[in-house]
Amino acid sequence: MSVVFDGGSLKGMQSSHSHTAPSALSAQELSQEIKSFISGVDAIQGRKLSVREHARCAVRLLRCVPACRGAVLEHLRGVYDEHVSMFLHNLETEGSSSSGATSNLEDIIQEVHGVLSEFIRLNPRAWAPLVSTWAVDLLGQLSSKHAGRRVAPHSSSLNELLQLWMSCAATRSLMEAYSQCLAAMLAWCPDACVDALLDTSVKHSPHFDWVVAHIGSAFPGTIISRVLACGLKDFCSHGAKDQGLLAEKGSRVPKIGSVVGILGHLAAHHSDSIRKELLRMFQESLIPSTPLSPTSSSSSWEASPQLRRAAVPFLLQLAALSPNLFGAVSSELVELLRPPVLLQLQSLLQGLPREELDNMLGLAVHLISQSPTGGARVLKFLADTATPASVIISGPTPSPNEGVREGCDRLLQMLLLHLHKLVFNRSDAAEAGLVGSASSQPQRVTPFLEELRSHVGQLCAETLRLERKRHLWLHQLLCLLSVYGGPSVATETLCQLLTQARNPEELALAWQLHTTLSSCMAGLIPAAVAHCVAQIHTHTLEPRQLRQLLLNLAAAIQSQDEERKGTAGGQSSMAVQIGLAVSGHLHDFGPLLLHGDPAVSNATVRLLSCSPLPRTSSPAHLLLLSRASVTHFFLALRRRGEARKAGRDMGQTGEAVSCSVLLLSRFAAYSPLTLKAILQQLVEGALHKGNADLFGGQIADMSGAPLASPSVSSDLGASLLDINCRFGTTVNFSGSVWSVFHAGVIGKGLKVRTAANQPDPSGVIQNIQTLLAVLVQCCSSSSLNGSQSPSDPGEPLPINAEAAKVVAVTLVENVCPDVANGELSWPPEEHARTTVERDIHIRRCFEAHPVLFPLLQVVAAGRPALCYCSAVLRGLLATLLSHWEASREASSKDSPWHLQASCLLVSCMGEGQLLPPVLANVHEAFAYLNPFEVRLLLLAVWEYVRGNGPLPQKFVFSPDKGMFCRDFSRDGDVSRYVAPIHSVLHKNIDRLGHLCWRFQL
């Protein structure tokens, strides 16, 4: 187009040159043409040729005189350079001046491009290598030369650079020509053109990068594989002698550097293909060379055994130089390493010299330690492969060849060693600060460990499987990881080990870890325990794990006791530490006692029962704990009962109960507050309707009477509301209505008493025994009156008065809610009529809760606590008196419960020294008497108590016995109360003769 406007002598010639023009030039003219070209002067007119004319001349020669090819191309370099200069100059001067010149040259460049591309199209085999080399070289030269220009962006901003150069006609034309060549050449000799590209890239890097990037993204698939193949060849020819020396990587292998650079550029958009290529290279290098069957790929490196052997070191080197590439490959590489591949790899590497293998090993170790992702998989793979084949443990994959295994073993050891160095050198650097503050300092990062931090749990699980060598490696790794990650990881690790260990051997790993770490990390165990507690709070643990954790902690603490017995080892200090740590968190463990899973609660109680108690603790925590432990106690009893009923093995539930007992007693001994709380709650719990059946009790209603089952009570058809309506609004019923309701509705007969269902008397007895044991332990071990170690260990400690008082008070509160007439001293017997209601209630309570009598006995043992039960005793005695008075039976044995109650009551009062021994003994005779006589004797008791009030101040502490005693001699004469007894004795001397000595004053 622009040719038309040019004018000039060459116009005609030029325009006719498009296709078959050369024939138009005679030999003579050509000779002239060559002369003009060489001299730059028009041979005919003798004037100097302009740049454009000169270039046109060159193009004509290119078309007609093959021998001028080289010279013409060389000349054109100058033209292109000129154009680029002008282009940049125009840019710099904002295109103000000579834009025309640029466009003039631009058409020349178009022309040259047209000719070249026509040539390439017509005969790619001849022209493509030539033009590609020329174009690449020229591009390199141009981009280097003009890199310093003001408008040229910095070489690092690849996109801007690309934009600039692609907007310049000259460079764009060169680029297009090169692309065309490459497209043509890929078919038959792709290596050559990529070689040239690489060479130029090396020479003109980094200014040339934009070319490579552009070409690369135009031919991603081929360029990548070619670039790799070229790199491999170069690597191979350089010899892999110094491949291990990473330090001088910059200066040494030039091509691998540019390979890395190019692939790095391409990685942004073609990471997938790069990865595929790398993996393909790896795989193909392993396939044993079969010269007879060439692979489908046209590239030749597969054919050479030497190159094949070099492929793996080359890839390693490549990966070492570029984290990007490494990251792309590493994840899938591990998947590829199946046993057959490993065998191939082994056979391939066997041929390499020892030194080279060592270098490769070092490189691989370095890479693994620097790998930011997939570390866990790599580790698993290494450990799997390196673990010796075992008869017992058969891995998921068939065990590989022994040689492969050894290789992996070695690699793993090296890796650990390397990591060890990394980790400890690193902490050396951070030595200055304390361990705690070290984490704040910037530290060298080891990506492998960094990634594994999140896999601590799995690692721990793997380690705990205790598979042969494997757990040793992993344990070592865990140590490193803990040191690397600082306290947080160490804590996590320890915590995981504690959670996951299932037996002492496994638990020992945790101790080993701690032993290793304790030298460089303080406060590890408290932190670990705190971490465990945090996990408990966040409910991240399964019940099973939770249980295991608790048991492990318990075992740890218990080991302390064992150690104390045996020789003191390194472990003991840790056991102590754990004990201390756990004791600090007792209140956090407390709620677990009531965990829905029995296993968890059992484990908790075990832990709590053996853990030392904190030196100080807030009352709120203590109360919570005590409540929880008491509740658990009842739960444990219930579970034991259920287990017994189901015929299961009671060992576990039994153990839980005993642990619970132990816990309660230890806890009670901890402080007056806990003692009081526990006793209170024990008594309340025992009487609580939910627990009543444990102790043979029946569920009582408000009035203390046993509830009828709903089916029975429904047909009663009476309601208080109805009654009230019927009787009007008057309120004064003088108690009669209530009485009626106690016994039944008038006109409907007596209330149906529910049959007392005592499913398991022996269970009840056992439960009561346990409860009593607990109470006794609590009361006797209490620290209320200082620690009195008994002179004889076989003899139980005396029950503490204060503790007994607590029991007594609680008991009274529960049994006798009515506080009216609650004073301790007794009124005359007749006054009992005013308290009939209450008395009946009390009596029914005793009926419903057989456990009350044993409780009373406990109270009685803790003199003078029974005084505080005065109201209850009085109520019970009053109802008994009225019963015996009303009874028309022939013998007292005909009312067995009343007989028993009377006996127990009197004996209790005797034990509690509310009665002198003479009076207290009367219960022995009850069974032989008739009801009236029983009443007489009971009346005597009443009279005595009325006369000698049950007041605590009447008791004095006798240090020799360690308990309070009442001196009855201070009270009034007993004899006048004894008279009825003697009368009864006389009357029934035939039956009571053997008892007479019991009533001697």
Partner: protein, 457 residues
């Protein structure tokens, strides 16, 4: 001459080369004038040439001087005009040999490169003297290098630069000697054994048109060379006849083989064209053979000089039998096409052998031929040629053969013996047809008469 080295050293590469050329010219003129025999350039001069024109480093320490492509072009231009302006053939020849005769050293590579460029350029700008010199060079140099030169020219003019073929075509008129040597080199180069070694169609066209235009072109070297027969060892053949016969005979098979992978689309473009060209070439070759008896007799060499070497014929037949075997193997159910091609090849071989023997270009007995051709498959014509009487013609006026357009269809041997030589008939196994000879009486064969060519049966 050696003393100018010091003055050349500080000069830039181009002017040093220019100056050396200048001095060389003078030196050789002096040498020729002094009449020293034999005119030989001394080694010092050769060294200078290698150092300053070919830029071969003399020792390791010397910096490598290298000309840029532009400078090289200038040098070539200077050389062109230098040879052009030198009026004396002897001087020119000596200078050319001094520059380009191979010395068997490391400079030979650059020598070849420079020579190739020079010749290529001479072709382009029509420098006859250089082409003549190059023709002589081609006669004296080992064939490997000749082939390389030919390769460069073919690449340059037939493949690299489209539309430049006509330029090469002109060498026929510019320098027939060079043209003849070029054909010989090209036929040696392209032995049709692989795709790369198949001549480009353009080249083929060019050669066919050259020979068709002037049959004697093929023989020019032979005609111009002295009778001494002092051919350097392993140089090119005196004539391209052997190579041309090889082309014609192998072409049907080679081109069929090439065509096979692209049979779906490419069957129409090159192959029929090439087939037509090769049959024309075959005719021309046979016609050239027909010229030979006269020439040989003129030189008194008839029956004494074998223009067609027995060894090359043997190589050709063994090649051919291998090719035919391969063709058989590739196409088990031999298509009619394949069969026709192989028969065509054998026909051509038979014709060429017969005519060559008859014209005195091939000196051998029929027993030798039979031994050579024993492995070839059956072909009627070949059978006849092999079993025919041995005939040497001393009388050039007696036409050696009588060709019949019906030859292939008749049972009568096409080489029908001349009745004047009945004594030979008992040798032929086909003695049962002696009468047939009479049917085709001496029919004088005239050069230029259209040859009844049959592409197949």
């Amino acid at each position: 001459m050696g003393d100018i080295r010091q003055s050349l050293l500080p000069r830039d590469v181009l002017s040093a080369a220019k100056e050396l050329l200048y001095h060389l010219d003078i030196y050789i003129c002096n040498m020729v004038q002094s009449g020293r025999q034999p005119p030989q350039v001394d080694t010092k001069t050769l060294d200078l040439i290698e150092e300053f024109i070919l830029h071969t480093p003399k020792d390791r320490n010397a910096p490598v001087r290298r000309m840029s492509a532009l400078q090289e072009l200038q040098l070539l231009e200077i050389m062109c005009s230098c040879f052009q302006e030198q009026s004396r053939d002897t001087v020119r020849q000596l200078m050319f040999s001094a520059l380009f005769n191979l010395q068997g050293n490391q400079a030979d590579e650059s020598r070849m490169a420079l020579l190739s460029k020079l010749v290529s350029m001479a072709v382009a700008v029509g420098r006859v003297p250089i082409l003549e010199c190059a023709a002589t060079w081609l006669q004296r140099t080992h064939r490997v290098y000749c082939v390389r030169l030919a390769q460069v020219l073919v690449d340059d003019y037939c493949s690299m630069v489209p539309g430049s073929g006509p330029t090469l075509q002109n060498i026929h008129s510019a320098s027939p000697r060079f043209c003849c040597q070029f054909i010989t080199a090209v036929t040696t180069l392209y032995d049709l054994t692989s795709e790369e070694l198949t001549p480009p169609l353009e080249l083929l066209q060019m050669i066919v048109s050259w020979i068709q235009d002037d049959h004697r072109l093929v023989l020019i070297t032979f005609l111009n060379s002295p009778l001494s027969g002092s051919q350097p060892l392993s140089s090119l053949d005196v004539t391209p006849l052997g190579g041309l016969i090889r082309w014609c005979v192998k072409a049907p098979l080679a081109y069929r083989r090439d065509r096979k992978p692209t049979s779906s689309d490419g069957s129409s473009d090159g192959a029929p064209d090439a087939a037509r060209l090769f049959s024309a070439l075959h005719l021309s070759v046979l016609q050239v053979f027909m010229l030979l008896p006269t020439i040989l007799n003129e030189k008194g060499l008839f029956g004494r000089l074998a223009l067609l070497q027995m060894e090359s014929v043997a190589a050709l037949t063994s090649d051919l039998s291998r090719l035919l075997d391969q063709a058989d193997k590739h196409t088990h159910a031999a298509t009619a096409d394949a069969h026709a091609a192989s028969q065509l090849a054998l026909d051509r071989l038979a014709q060429a052998l017969q005519v060559a023997m008859a014209s005195g270009a091939l000196l051998c007995s029929r027993e030798d031929l039979r031994a050579i051709c024993s492995r070839l498959p059956h072909n009627n014509l070949l059978q006849l040629v092999l079993s025919g009487p041995v005939m040497y013609y001393n009388n050039i006026h007696t036409p050696p053969l009588a060709y019949s357009p019906h030859a292939a269809h008749s049972p009568i041997p096409s080489h029908a013996a001349i009745p004047t030589l009945p004594a030979h008939t008992p040798h032929t196994p086909l003695a049962t047809h002696p009468a047939s000879h009479a049917q085709y009486p001496a029919q004088p064969f005239m050069s230029g008469m259209p040859f009844p060519f049959r592409p197949g049966h």
